[in-house]
């Protein structure tokens, strides 16, 4: 499994594991009924304690992303498109709320904030564009 976690991040380890596995499931890298590594296996792979992985698995089960068969292991649950869309929005909502609160604290106007989002959206699009064309050029050279 391709899981990226940081030992130095201020986000608790179990939360990192949860969101990484959710990402793999939501983006289709893991399919329904696919088996997850055992708690001990994943703990060794990620150099983190078993209890942290156990907690992450419990939370993933509680939120319906995985299911566990006693004695067999944990598996990816089949999720509806609505549920996945809802999860994606949740991912964006939290950090955005922080920014909204910050903007309000600094007495920014709603239009200013919305303009900022629009501009950032375009900037990222443009960056991706140029990134892609540069990549294309480099490929061409080779």
């Amino acid at each position: 499994m391709l899981i990226h976690i940081s030992q130095t991040s201020s986000t608790p380890m179990y939360e990192q594991v949860i969101s990484e596995i959710q990402r793999l499931i939501a983006m289709g890298y893991m399919e329904a009924d696919e088996m997850l590594p055992s708690i001990r296996e994943l703990s060794k792979e990620l150099m983190t304690s078993g209890i942290t992985i156990r907690r992450a698995y419990q939370e993933l089960e509680r939120t319906g992303f995985i299911y566990t068969r006693k004695g067999k292991g944990s598996f990816v649950a089949a999720l509806s498109m609505e549920r996945l869309a809802q999860w994606k929005m949740e991912q964006v909502r939290e950090p955005l709320l922080e920014s909204v609160l910050q903007a309000k604290k600094l007495n920014l106007k709603e239009e200013q904030f919305q303009d900022l989002i629009k501009r950032m959206w375009q900037e990222v699009d443009e960056q991706n564009e140029t990134g892609r064309t540069q990549e294309g050029k480099n490929n061409g050279k080779q």
């Binding site: 703990s43 060794k44 983190t48 304690s49 209890i51 942290t52």
Partner: protein
């Protein structure tokens, strides 16, 4: 099933008096399948506790059971199930690794030569060099390989990672995580390096001045403690909460701590926010000397 299983290690009422220091009623339990980090400042009683478990220090009082067997009454049977590495590794400097292994294997019926070979190769430990010629890291790894060679259920390691460089420390932690892949096993390792404990330990036991402060699962421990920050400009009712301790005025507000965060969250009013603590911050908070 899991709950009815006896803990691998049970320490209760362990006491030992020295003229200038005493262990007082030390008690904790280590279930199978877990790694316990044993945290304490220098001189807090970590090594004495571990030596008392191995009966290398005669206790004054208390009960020690390993896999339900009593120490030191069933010492011979117990020691087949325990691998211990003390603060000073018991390796003969004049011997080679080869000779050390050939000597040690005769004492243990369960000696696993294949695992020894694997670990020697994995750690790149030369068998023909004298122990005295090995680096500090190599010596630690060699003692660990020796301690694991008879396939014990319980590893007792006194500061296994102290004085090692980050690469070797990581290798040692990996070896411990590998050891508990078999869930009938367990590890107790003492350390004052909190980040090592935070990384791989399932349970955290904190000893201070010869007494056990805390022995609990790491996730719930880090969950119930929080730093609470209360801005000074607004209302600050939260400051008066009985759930806060070490509350101090700082620039722009107040900072305090709670060990019952969920309850605090439910009860506190006014303006406040919380910050999670690292194990290191928590350790300093609990064992730092309080001025009163």
């Amino acid at each position: 099933m899991e709950n009815s299983r006896r803990p691998l290690l049970e320490v209760s009422g362990l006491s030992k008096s020295y003229p200038d220091f005493q262990l007082q009623d030390v008690r904790f339990q280590l279930p199978a399948g877990t790694i316990m980090g044993f945290l304490g400042r220098n001189g807090a009683g970590k090594s004495t506790t571990m030596k008392a478990i191995m009966d290398l220090v005669k206790r004054d009082d208390g009960d020690i059971r390993i896999l339900g067997m009593s120490m030191p009454k069933e010492e011979v049977a117990v020691k087949e199930q325990v691998g211990y590495v003390g603060d000073t590794p018991l390796l003969n400097n004049a011997w080679t690794m080869e000779r050390t292994l050939n000597f040690a294997r005769h004492f243990y019926p369960n000696w696993d030569q294949d695992a020894v070979e694997q670990n020697l190769a994995y750690f790149d430990i030369p068998r023909d060099k004298k122990i005295s010629e090995l680096s500090k890291g190599m010596k630690v790894k060699a003692s660990l390989i020796l301690a694991m060679a008879h396939q014990p259920k319980l590893l007792l390691l006194d500061e296994p990672t102290s004085g090692l460089d980050p690469v070797v420390r990581t290798e040692v932690l990996e070896l411990l995580l590998d050891f508990v892949q078999d869930e009938s096993r367990g590890v107790l390792f003492s350390s004052h390096i909190t980040s090592d404990v935070e990384k791989i330990a399932d349970l955290v036991t904190v000893i201070d001045d010869g007494k056990i402060f805390i022995s609990e699962d790491k996730e719930s421990l880090l969950d119930r403690y929080r730093r609470i920050v209360i801005p000074g400009s607004g209302e600050k009712e939260a400051v008066d909460s009985p759930l806060l301790f070490n509350c101090q005025a700082t620039m722009g507000g107040y900072v305090g701590y709670t060990n019952r965060f969920q309850q605090f969250q439910g009860e506190a009013t006014g303006d406040w926010h919380s910050e999670r603590l690292t194990l290191e911050e928590l350790f300093v908070l609990l064992t730092g000397r309080k001025e009163d």
